[in-house]
C-alpha cells in the first residue's frame, strides 16, 4: 500500500499517487460535471424570470456595480492564489500551500461579507425573497453560489488545520488538490453570474 | 407448460372478444371515431404509424417464434454453438430500414403538425376563449358578446379558434372525437383550432390532473346548424339585454329570491352576478348537471343539498337549504333557458 510511503519521499503529483487519490480526482471532476448541470438549471430559470419584477425593484434600479466589481476582483484574485497553492503542492511545499490557502480564505471571506452586505441592502430596498419571480430567482442563484463559497471556506480551513497535524501526505495531497479545484469551479460560476445576472441585469430592461 | 399455453390462448381470446364487444368506444367520446378534420388528420397519422409499427412487430415476432422453436436446446445436444461476432450486412440492414420507415412517418408528421398549429382570424373562425377552473369550464365568445359554461355551443362545419388559459391550476382541454388536446396553463395562453363536421353532442374531458375531482371535470359540446347557432347567440344576447328571467310560477318566484340572495354572488345569470362559479344563463338547456349527472330535477336537488358529495374539492359551499328551498330553487333554475324548445 502506498500509505507505507507516507513518511518517506512524497512522489511527484502526490494527489494522484495512489489509486484512492486517482479515484478522488476523477470522482470530483464528475461531481463538478453534475454541479455544472445544477448551476445551468439555475441560470436557465433565472434568465426566464429575470424581467418579472412584479412591481417590485428591478435589477436596473437595484444593482450597485461598484460593489459587485470589488467582489468580483476579490474572488478572481482568490482563484489565482488557489492556483499558487496547487503549484506549491506540486513542489511539495506545505508552508507555501498554507500561506496561499490562507490568503485564498481571507479573500473568500471578503467576498462573502460583501455579498451578505449586498443582500441586506437589497432587502432594505424592498427586494425580498417573496417580492417577485425575479427576486426569488436572484436570491436563489446568487445565494446558491454564496453557499458554495461558504462551504469552500470551511472546507479549506478544515484541511489547513488537519494538515498542520498530518503534514503533506498522499492522503492529504488529493484533498488540497480537490479543494483548489472546487474553488476554481466556484470562480468560474461567478464569472457567469457576473455576466448573466449583473451585466445583463444592467441593460436587461432596455432589451426586454 | 402445455397447460399454461392453453390458458394463455383462452385469456387472449377473452381479451380480444372483450375489445370487439366494446367496439371502438362511443361516437361522442372516442378518438377512434373522428367527427372533424383535426381528429381525422390525427386518426390518419395513428393509422399510418400503427400500420408501420405492426409491420415491424410481425417481422420481430416471426424471427422470435422461429428462433424459439428451432434453436431450443434438445436433450442430449452436444457441441458448442458457433460464436458469431456479428454481421455487418445485417446490422446495416436493420439500421437503415427502420430509418427509412421513420422518414415515411416523419413527412406527414411535419405537414400535419404545422397544419394543426395554424391560427385562424375571426373572419375565418368562431373565436372562443376557454378558461378552465377547478372543476368546470368557462366559454366566452368575445366577438359575439356572449358567455356560457360547461356546454360549449358550436356551429357545424366551421372552424373554431380557441384561446385557452386556466384560472387556478393546469388543466387540459380535450374533445376526443373532434381532436385533441391542449393544456390550459395558468398565467399563459395557448391556441388550438377544431372543427365539427356533424351536428350532435360530443363529450369533452379535462386531461391533466387538477385536483380531487379531476375525473369529474367533463363538459359537453353541442354542435348545431349555423342557423340554430345564430338563434342561440341571439337568445343569449336577448336574455342579457333584459332583466333576468321573471319567475313563471309562485314556487319559481320563491326560488328566484333564494337565488338572488345566495347564488348570484358567484354565478352570473344574464350578465348579472359573479364569475366565481359557472355562468347559469342557460342552465335549463344544459346537457348534464355538474357536467356529469343526467339533467333531472332530482340530480339538481342532490347537487344543491351537498355539492362536495358529488364533486369533492369544488369551490361551492353547502348552502344548508331545507327541502322546500331546494325544491323552489330547482323550479326556478329550470326556467333559465334561451332555447325555444323548453
Amino acid at each position: 500500500m502506498a500509505n507505507h510511503h507516507a513518511h518517506a519521499v512524497l512522489p511527484d503529483e502526490p494527489e494522484k499517487a495512489t489509486l484512492e487519490g486517482k479515484n478522488k480526482v476523477l470522482g470530483f471532476w464528475l461531481f463538478l460535471g453534475g454541479e455544472t448541470v445544477l448551476f445551468g438549471s439555475l441560470f436557465a430559470t433565472f434568465i426566464a424570470l429575470r424581467d418579472q419584477a412584479n412591481g417590485g425593484p428591478t435589477s436596473q434600479a437595484l444593482f450597485d456595480m461598484n460593489l459587485v466589481a470589488v467582489a468580483t476582483l476579490l474572488l478572481l484574485t482568490s482563484s489565482m492564489t488557489s492556483v499558487m497553492a496547487t503549484l506549491a503542492l506540486h513542489k511539495k511545499d506545505l508552508k507555501k500551500i498554507q500561506l496561499w490557502l490562507t490568503i485564498t480564505v481571507i479573500l473568500g471571506l471578503g467576498f462573502l461579507a460583501l455579498e451578505i452586505y449586498e443582500f441586506v441592502h437589497y432587502v432594505n430596498e424592498g427586494l425580498k425573497m417573496s417580492t417577485s419571480a425575479f427576486s426569488s430567482a436572484f436570491y436563489t442563484l446568487v445565494g446558491f453560489h454564496g453557499a458554495h463559497v461558504a462551504f469552500g471556506i470551511c472546507w479549506i480551513i478544515l484541511l489547513q488545520l488537519s494538515a498542520t497535524k498530518k503534514g503533506l501526505t498522499v492522503v492529504t495531497a488529493p484533498k488540497f488538490y480537490l479543494a483548489s479545484l472546487y474553488w476554481h469551479f466556484i470562480d468560474v460560476v461567478w464569472v457567469f453570474i457576473f455576466t448573466v445576472v449583473y451585466l445583463m441585469g444592467m441593460i436587461g430592461g432596455k432589451v426586454g | 407448460m402445455k397447460g399454461w399455453q392453453q390458458y394463455w390462448r383462452q385469456f387472449s381470446l377473452f381479451a380480444l372478444l372483450a375489445l370487439v364487444l366494446t367496439g371502438c368506444g362511443k361516437d361522442e367520446l372516442s378518438a377512434l371515431k373522428p367527427s372533424g378534420p383535426v381528429a381525422a388528420m390525427q386518426f390518419d397519422l395513428m393509422k399510418l404509424s400503427s400500420a408501420i409499427m405492426i409491420g415491424v412487430f410481425i417481422v420481430v415476432m416471426a424471427i422470435f417464434t422461429y428462433v424459439l422453436i428451432r434453436y431450443r436446446k434438445r436433450p442430449g445436444q452436444q457441441g458448442i454453438p458457433k460464436q458469431v461476432e456479428g454481421n455487418h450486412a445485417l446490422e446495416i440492414l436493420w439500421t437503415v430500414i427502420p430509418f427509412l420507415l421513420l422518414i415515411i412517418m416523419a413527412i406527414p408528421t411535419v405537414t400535419t403538425g404545422f397544419a394543426l398549429h395554424k391560427e385562424y382570424p375571426k373572419e375565418e373562425a368562431v373565436q372562443v376563449k376557454v378558461t378552465a377552473h377547478q372543476f368546470w369550464w368557462e366559454f366566452e365568445y368575445p366577438d359575439l358578446g356572449v358567455a356560457t359554461a360547461q356546454d360549449l355551443v358550436l356551429p357545424v362545419g366551421k372552424k373554431v379558434q380557441f384561446v385557452l388559459s386556466a384560472s387556478d391550476v393546469k388543466h387540459a382541454f380535450w374533445i376526443p372525437a373532434l381532436g385533441g388536446k391542449i393544456d390550459t396553463n395558468p398565467g399563459q395562453e395557448n391556441k388550438m383550432w377544431l372543427q365539427a363536421d356533424k351536428t350532435g353532442i360530443y363529450y369533452g374531458k379535462c386531461a391533466e390532473l387538477c385536483g380531487a375531482s379531476h375525473a369529474l371535470m367533463d363538459f359537453k359540446v353541442e354542435v348545431m346548424e349555423q342557423a340554430d347557432f345564430d338563434t342561440w347567440v341571439a337568445g343569449m344576447k336577448g336574455v342579457q339585454a333584459k332583466e333576468p328571467v321573471t319567475a313563471t310560477s309562485p314556487l319559481a318566484a320563491e326560488g328566484q329570491q333564494i337565488f338572488d340572495k345566495s347564488c348570484l354572488g358567484c354565478h352570473a345569470v344574464a350578465g348579472k352576478g359573479g364569475k366565481m362559479g359557472p355562468n347559469l344563463t342557460n342552465f335549463a338547456d344544459r346537457e348534464r348537471v355538474a357536467g356529469i349527472k343526467a339533467h333531472t330535477p332530482e340530480n339538481i336537488a342532490d347537487w344543491l343539498k351537498d355539492p362536495q358529495k358529488i364533486k369533492p374539492g369544488n369551490k361551492m359551499p353547502n348552502l344548508n337549504l331545507d327541502d322546500n328551498q331546494v325544491k323552489a330553487l330547482v323550479e326556478y333554475m329550470e326556467t333559465l333557458s334561451v332555447s325555444e324548445k323548453k
Binding site: E35, S130, A133, T140 | F64, Y71, E85, E91, V110, N185
Partner: protein, 614 residues
C-alpha cells in the same frame, strides 16, 4: 497511516449491515429496501385498480386516489426499481470488471442510506396528514401550497435526500468502471451489463441535478414564499415542467438501459453464444443515452411550445427507435443458432422481447406530435410507459434476480415456483395493460379516480383490474420463492448457468475481497475465453498477498439520519430541528475528513476461508 488493524473488525447481524461498506452487502440492503418499497408501490397499484374496477364506485375516494397514484409512481420509480437496479449494479459490476470493491466504498454506503431515509421520509407522509397528491410529476401550480396539502412537502424533501444518494451512487459507479478494471479488461471487453451501468451512471450524473434544482425551487415556493411557479407574481409554471422532464426523460433510460444490459447477459448465456453485434450494442446503448437528453419536451407536446419545437422534439424522439431496434434484432440473432435453455431467468428475458417491442412501438407512435395530442395524458400513455417500465424494466429485473440470485446469496431460487411466477406475472401484465391502450383512445384520461357508466369504458377497466390480480399473484410467488430459497440447505455452485463473465469465476456468494488474485482478462466473455482454452479458471494477474480492505463505518447512517431529521424540520417549519439535523450531518462529514480510515488487512493465510454470509 502507520497503524493498520490487521484483522477485520468483528461485526455481525444488524450492526454489520448498518456499518458495512462492502458492495455486496450494500447490494443486499438495496434489494431489501427496494423490494419492500416495490411491495408498497404494488399495493398502491392494486388499490388503484380496485377503485377503477367498476364505474362510479366509492372505494378509496377521490382524494386518497390522487395520493395513491402519486405515491405509486414516485415509489416505483425512485424507491423501488432504481434501488433494485442499484442492488444488481452493486452486486455484479465490481465482479464483472474484476475489482475487489467499488471506488468509494464509504460513499457507496452513504448513497444507500440517503436513498433509504429519503424513501422512509416520503412514506411517513401517509401517517402524518396525507401523502402527496399532485401526481408523481407534481406539476405546478397544483403542487403549490394553495392547491395541495403538506404531502407535497414530503415529496420535495424526501426526493431531494433520496436523489442525493442516487447522484453519488452514479459518480461512484462511473469512477469504479473507469479506474478499477482488472488488467486486460478494456472498455470493449466489458460485459453489456457493466456497459449499461456505466452509461446509466453517466445519465444519473447529468440528469439528477436538474430535478434537484426543480425540487429546491418548489421547496422555496412552498416553504419560503418564493415565486418561481406562481403566475400571479411573475412566475412561470412551464419552468417546472422543463426541469422535471430534463431529468424525467433521461430517467427513463436510466431505468431501461440496465434492463437491456441484463437481457443481453441472460440471452447470451442461455443461448450459449456470445452476444451478437457486441460493438453495435455498445454503440446503440451510448447513442440511446445521448439522445435521451435531447427529447425531454416530447412529454410536453400539449404544453403549447409551438409547432417548430414540437416537430423537432418529435423527430428526435423517433430517432431513438433506430438504436433500440438494433438491440432487439441483436438479441434475436444472439439466440439464432444457439442452444436455448429456459430457466426462469431466460423466460423473463424472452418474455421481455415482444413485450418491450410493443412498448417501443407505442413509443414511436407517441413521438408523432399531432397524434400525441390525442394520446397525451390518456390511458394510452399509461399503457405505453407500463409496457416499457414493467414489461421492459421489471421483466429485466426479475430476469436478473433469477440469474444472479445464486451469486448474491449462494442459494438457487426454485425453478418450479419461478415458472409460475413468470406465467402469472406475464399474463397478468398483458391483461392489465393491453386494454389500456384502447381505453385511452376511447377517451379515458389518465389519473381519473372514476369514469361514468355510459362511456363504454367498463369492460376494458374490468379486464385490467383482473390482470392486476395476476401480477399480484406473480409478485407474491416471487416473495415465497425468496423464503423457500433462504430455507433451502442446498448451496449454489460458483457457476450454475455455464456463465461467460468474471462473476462466475468466483464462489457463490463471493468472499469479502471477491478475487483472491486479481484476474487477467484475455477477451470479451472473460471466463468463456478461459473455458474454451481448456483452463479451469482465470489466470491471475498478481501473486497471492495480503488484501487491504476499507473499515466499516456508522457515519453514512448517521449522516443520512441528520438530513432525515432536518427534512422534518423543514416540513414542520421548525428551524431548530433543521439546524440540529444539518449540524449532525456536518459533524459526520467533519469526522470523516479529519479521521483517516486506515482500513485493515486480510492476511494471505486467511484467504478463501472467509466468505460473505448472506
Amino acid at each position: 497511516m502507520s497503524a493498520h488493524a490487521s484483522h477485520a473488525p468483528n461485526r455481525s447481524g444488524l450492526w454489520d449491515y448498518l456499518t458495512t461498506v462492502d458492495h455486496k452487502k450494500i447490494a443486499i440492503l438495496y434489494l431489501i429496501a427496494g423490494g419492500i418499497f416495490f411491495l408498497a408501490g404494488g399495493l398502491e397499484a392494486l388499490l388503484i385498480r380496485l377503485q377503477l374496477m367498476y364505474p362510479e364506485i366509492e372505494f378509496v375516494g377521490a382524494k386518497t386516489f390522487n395520493e395513491l397514484i402519486t405515491m405509486h409512481g414516485t415509489t416505483m420509480i425512485f424507491l423501488a426499481v432504481m434501488p433494485i437496479i442499484f442492488a444488481l449494479m452493486n452486486a455484479i459490476v465490481p465482479l464483472q470488471i474484476g475489482a475487489r470493491d467499488v471506488a468509494f466504498p464509504f460513499v457507496n454506503a452513504l448513497g444507500f442510506w440517503l436513498f433509504f431515509f429519503g424513501g422512509v421520509l416520503l412514506n411517513t407522509s401517509w401517517f402524518l396528514g396525507g401523502a402527496p397528491d399532485a401526481g408523481w410529476t407534481s406539476y405546478t401550480t397544483l403542487a403549490l401550497n394553495q392547491y395541495s396539502g403538506r404531502g407535497v412537502d414530503f415529496y420535495v424533501l424526501g426526493l431531494q435526500i433520496a436523489g442525493l444518494g442516487t447522484l453519488i451512487g452514479g459518480i461512484n459507479f462511473l469512477v469504479t468502471i473507469i479506474n478499477m478494471r482488472a488488467p486486460g479488461m478494456t472498455f470493449m471487453r466489458m460485459p453489456m451489463f457493466t456497459w449499461a451501468s456505466f452509461i446509466t451512471s453517466g445519465l444519473i450524473l447529468f440528469a439528477f441535478p436538474a430535478i434537484t434544482v426543480g425540487l429546491v425551487l418548489l421547496m422555496f415556493d412552498r416553504l419560503f414564499g418564493g415565486n418561481f411557479f406562481n403566475p400571479d407574481a411573475g412566475g412561470n409554471v412551464v419552468i417546472w415542467e422543463h426541469l422535471f422532464w430534463i431529468f424525467g426523460h433521461p430517467e427513463v433510460y436510466i431505468l431501461i438501459l440496465p434492463a437491456f444490459g441484463i437481457i443481453s447477459e441472460v440471452v447470451s448465456t442461455f443461448s450459449r453464444k456470445r452476444l451478437f453485434g457486441y460493438s453495435s450494442m455498445v454503440f446503440a446503448t451510448a447513442l440511446i443515452g445521448f439522445l435521451g437528453f435531447m427529447v425531454w419536451a416530447h412529454h410536453m407536446f400539449t404544453t403549447g411550445l409551438g409547432a417548430i419545437a414540437n416537430t423537432l422534439f418529435g423527430l428526435a424522439t423517433m430517432l431513438i427507435a433506430v438504436p433500440t431496434g438494433i438491440k432487439i434484432f441483436n438479441w434475436l440473432l444472439t439466440m439464432w443458432g444457439g442452444q436455448i435453455r429456459f430457466p426462469t431467468a431466460n423466460l423473463f428475458a424472452v418474455g421481455f422481447i415482444p413485450t418491450f417491442t410493443i412498448g417501443g412501438m407505442t413509443g414511436v407512435m407517441l413521438a408523432v406530435p399531432p397524434a400525441d395530442y390525442q394520446y397525451h395524458d390518456s390511458y394510452f400513455v399509461v399503457a405505453h410507459f407500463h409496457y416499457v417500465i414493467v414489461g421492459g424494466l421489471v421483466f429485466g429485473l426479475f430476469s436478473g434476480l433469477y440469474y444472479w440470485w445464486p451469486k448474491m446469496f449462494g442459494k438457487m431460487l426454485n425453478e418450479t415456483i419461478g415458472k409460475w411466477n413468470f406465467w402469472t406475472f406475464f399474463i397478468g401484465f398483458h391483461l392489465t395493460f393491453f386494454p389500456q391502450h384502447f381505453l385511452g383512445l376511447m377517451g379515458m384520461p389518465r389519473r381519473v379516480f372514476t369514469y361514468l357508466k355510459d362511456q363504454n369504458l367498463d369492460m376494458g377497466n374490468f379486464i385490467s383490474t383482473i390482470g392486476a390480480f395476476g401480477m399480484t399473484i406473480g409478485t407474491i410467488l416471487f416473495v415465497i420463492n425468496v423464503f423457500v430459497a433462504a430455507k433451502s440447505s442446498k448451496r449454489a455452485p460458483a457457476d450454475p448457468w455455464d456463465g461467460r463473465s468474471l462473476e462466475w469465476a468466483i464462489p457463490s456468494p463471493p468472499p469479502e475481497y471477491n478475487f483472491v488474485q486479481t484476474p487477467l482478462v484475455r477477451g470479451l466473455d472473460a471466463l468463456w475465453v478461459e473455458k474454451m482454452a481448456g483452463n479451469k479458471g482465470m489466470t491471475p494477474a498478481e501473486p497471492i498477498g495480503d488484501i487491504h480492505m476499507p473499515s466499516p463505518s456508522f457515519l453514512p447512517f448517521l449522516m443520512s439520519l441528520g438530513l432525515f431529521v432536518a427534512g422534518y424540520g423543514f416540513i414542520y417549519h421548525n428551524y431548530v430541528v433543521v439546524v440540529i439535523g444539518i449540524l449532525a450531518t456536518l459533524a459526520c462529514m467533519f469526522t470523516r475528513s479529519v479521521k483517516d480510515d486506515p482500513g485493515y488487512h486480510i492476511h494471505e493465510d486467511e484467504l478463501e476461508e472467509k466468505g460473505v454470509k448472506a
